[in-house]
Amino acid sequence: MHPLLARPARLLLVVAIAALFGVPLAWILKLLGPRPWVAALAFAVPLQIISGFIVLSAWWVCRRHPISGPGAWRAVAVQLGAALQTTAIRTALGTFWALALDRWLYAGLSRADMYRDLAVMFATGIPFYLLSAVGHYLFLAFEASHEAERRVLETQVGAREAELRALRAQLNPHFLFNSLNSINALVGSDPEGARRMCEGLGDFLRRTLALGARDEVTLGEELALVERYLGIEQVRFGDRLRVERAVDPDAAICRVPPLLLQPLVENAIKHGIQDCVNGGVIRIEAQCTGGALRVAVENPVDPDAPVRRGEGVGLQNVRRRLEVFAARESQLSASRTGETFRVLLTLPAVVGALSEAPRG
């Protein structure tokens, strides 16, 4: 739908502007041939109003054929064609209108007068359409810049929101409650262990806040945070939690959004290790091949555990953050084969200096 046709007020505006164009047309007709003002206006104004609606068709042509880019010449040709077509329609309608007026209002229009009016209608029709096309192109350009601005803002807001969510998920209160309970237990049986765990927990929280305040971190930094997390969970789960790592040195220096991996490892414990009587192995892989960074987290699944439908909050959150980081080149896939659940992240491998300063 044309934006000018969407509301009655705008519709009136179209009618008014088109009618105004009728005045110069009437003046030209009066200059060329003897006829009263009333007759000239009665002919020109309604014709212009109808033409006004006809040239609104430029909207669709303009949208289909943008004037910038490689198709510019083609667009000009298409517009000229459209100008001829709309002008032909206008001239045909104008001719009928002239004949009708001739019959009802006054007689005496000679054949020569008719041909001359026809030429005038045709000659004024083409610039009228082209004017409309120019107007539409300007409007579309204006709208596009507006839209781009809005999208930039939206992305920024979305990115902040995803970061906040990640940080909140990171500081999962149940993780803290369980860790405090473990410390509580260690105080009696192994005071030295309790101290180490306090230290580890403090270190983990401090690193989380530091990394979370940055735009990007290296995968190595992210993995170091995950190690701290696993160290704390090791106290809770003991031998049940075993970890394998296969991280290429090339991959460790790639840039990633902060707090991306930890939710995946947390899920691997919550839905994997915790459900299995004898625990199992969490496998963390990272490779960098052909300009793409692939990071995978695998965990065992208990065959008796109910099958989870859809994606949990943790995965959705990681997906959103990947989109913000690199919407087109990044991907998250989760799959279960047999008794193994695997999440694979693919993102562009970017290596280089990081912005160390936290954002203000």
Partner: protein
């Protein structure tokens, strides 16, 4: 009051169990008879060792704390239960199944002593009631409430748990062929096996997803995926033929339900 309390600890995390052991060690007349690290072990230990009191974690491998309770509580002489978890969202469900107390991790000695005191009161009361032979709540209806609490409000059961002595079977709901009422029990038929469970058919039917399970008869609930066809035997007398050839009777209202679900 100086009676001995036999306690079972159920938690999959070793530090959590050692903490309970340490705290309970300070109390006279409390004997820790065992530790279980998952739901199956817990059911086995409760059935075989008959503890008076169980400290029960909620999130564990195999069965969660509520499912454990669903399997052992309907029996006479079921233990008193104190839940221990880091999650506060199960508190309401815990009290619906008559838990003595609900300990939120991390908790201190005093909080545990308080819970233990409550448990002792409950046990003394229960012992007095057994001697006076006061009528207890019907086990079957208690089982229904327990099962409802186990699956949580507004959820349909994704798996059914049944106990055969000390052994536990977990049956994914989609594997159930049909369920048949047998007095106070239901027989759950699944792939040629049949499991008895102390529950009424109405309660079980309520727990199952009505899109998948239809009550075709006073005594039968069937998985609609297993139905091959419905045959008319005589006027107003129909049978459902399952894919394995088995025939189940269909009542008039059952047929109406079936037409609604299975058209």
């Amino acid at each position: 009051m100086a009676e001995r309390v036999r306690v079972l600890l159920v938690d999959d995390e070793a530090p959590a169990r050692s903490l309970l052991r340490e705290y309970l060690g300070a109390h006279e007349g409390v004997e820790v008879i065992g530790e279980s690290t998952n739901g199956f072990e817990a059911v086995k230990a409760i059935t075989e060792q008959r503890p008076d009191l169980v400290f029960l974690d909620v999130q564990m491998p195999k069965l969660d704390g509520f499912e454990v309770l669903e399997l052992v509580a309907p029996e006479p002489g079921a233990p008193a239960v104190i839940f221990c978890t880091a999650y506060d969202e199960y508190a309401l469900r815990a009290f619906e199944v008559h838990a003595v107390d609900y300990l939120l991790k991390p908790f201190g000695r005093e909080r545990l002593a308080e819970a233990l005191g409550r448990a002792r009161e409950r046990l003394t009361l229960a012992a007095a009631r057994t001697q006076g032979a006061a009528p207890a709540a019907s086990p079957a209806s208690a089982a229904g409430a327990l099962a409802a609490a186990a699956r949580g409000q507004g959820h349909f059961a994704e798996r059914l748990v049944v106990r055969d002595g000390a052994q536990v079977h977990v049956i994914p709901a989609e594997q159930v062929d049909y369920v048949e009422a047998q007095d106070d029990y239901v027989a759950i038929h699944e792939g040629g096996h049949s499991h008895l469970k102390h529950q009424t058919l109405a309660e079980l039917a309520e727990a199952l997803d009505p899109e998948r399970f239809v009550r075709i008869h006073r005594s039968f609930v069937v998985n609609v995926d297993r139905i091959a066809r419905v045959e008319l035997l005589a006027k107003d007398q129909r049978v459902v033929i399952l894919r394995d050839g088995r025939q189940l009777p269909v009542s008039r209202s059952g047929h109406d339900w079936l037409r609604e679900q299975w058209s």
